[in-house]
Amino acid sequence: MKFDVNHALTWITKANEKIQDNKDYLTSLDQAIGDGDHGINMSRGFKETVAKLSENDYVTVSDVWKDAAMTLMSKVGGASGPLFGTAFLKMSMASKGEEAIDYPIFIKAVEEAVEGVKQRGKATEGEKTMIDVWSPVVKKLQEASDFNAELIRDTAKTAMEATSDLVATKGRAAYLKERSKGHLDPGSVSSYYIFDALADSLEEGA
């Protein structure tokens, strides 16, 4: 199987649906340990991204990811904007020129996305951020030999749930120190929706 423009567009469309459906939930998670804008930020950013992608006919996956990256960076408004924006921009750069991408390129793209997020946020694993979902997903992708929707979805879900036990040392939640424990990280929950949507797009294309 190859990941093509249709997969890429379905991915973003599905991610947008899940984020809009859970906008208030994301905001409530951010109210508990942040500033309460995560749902609003993600809802605005993904709505604009879907609108932007509907304006063009795309030939390469890379171009879809590039436009998604630029829109997320300028429209989200919180830390998740430059972070998710950087993730998609790195994926775009890693897959440049390919109309449809094979599994090894896909893995490389997501690897570079995680590296980009780490650099942009000056953060690493275990700090109760979206990296705690993205990084385990990359590890599972590397272990597998082909696209596997269920593996992606399950890994992201388990990793998202595990952020509850962590103490935040980056982002707004870090100001709460120990008190951030016992709450899910908002950016990890939206990252789970993004990977859940990726899994949906893989299943639809199959």
Partner: protein, 126 residues
């Protein structure tokens, strides 16, 4: 002669423009732009930061001061996207740091000299 530029990135439009007022009141002509808020709300905007960088003189370089989290990430992204040399995100309290920079810029100090003063004055941040 052109001065070192200053860009103020805050989550609040009022905070950024308020700090700009303080600098202008004390120093007079400053090469400074405020980039605060996101579409009228609390947040930070990559586009606003890019615009600010394009609307100050950067011939002598520029310094960006920020308040929290995404302000720094967006400032760094803006510098990368515009491919600017000699523009730096500064680790210092936004008001005090920008004030020091404005005073020094007004007496003709270079970016490097200002960065050294900031490091001496605010060793704890970053």
């Amino acid at each position: 002669m052109a001065q070192v530029g200053i860009v103020l990135v805050s989550h609040s439009e009022k905070v950024a423009s308020g700090i700009k007022d303080i600098l202008e009141q004390a120093v007079g002509e400053v090469n400074v732009k405020a980039a605060g808020g996101m579409e009228g709300e609390i947040g930070t905007s990559l586009e606003k930061i890019q615009e600010a960088l394009q609307n100050i003189s950067t011939s002598e370089g520029a310094l960006i001061f920020y308040d929290l989290g995404s302000a720094k990430m967006n400032a760094e992204a803006a510098i990368e996207m515009l491919e600017l040399d000699n523009v730096h995100v500064v680790e210092a309290p936004i008001l005090e740091g920008a004030y020091l920079a404005a005073v020094e810029a007004s007496i003709g100090k270079s970016v490097q000299e200002i960065l050294e003063s900031i490091k001496k004055e605010f060793p704890e941040k970053g």
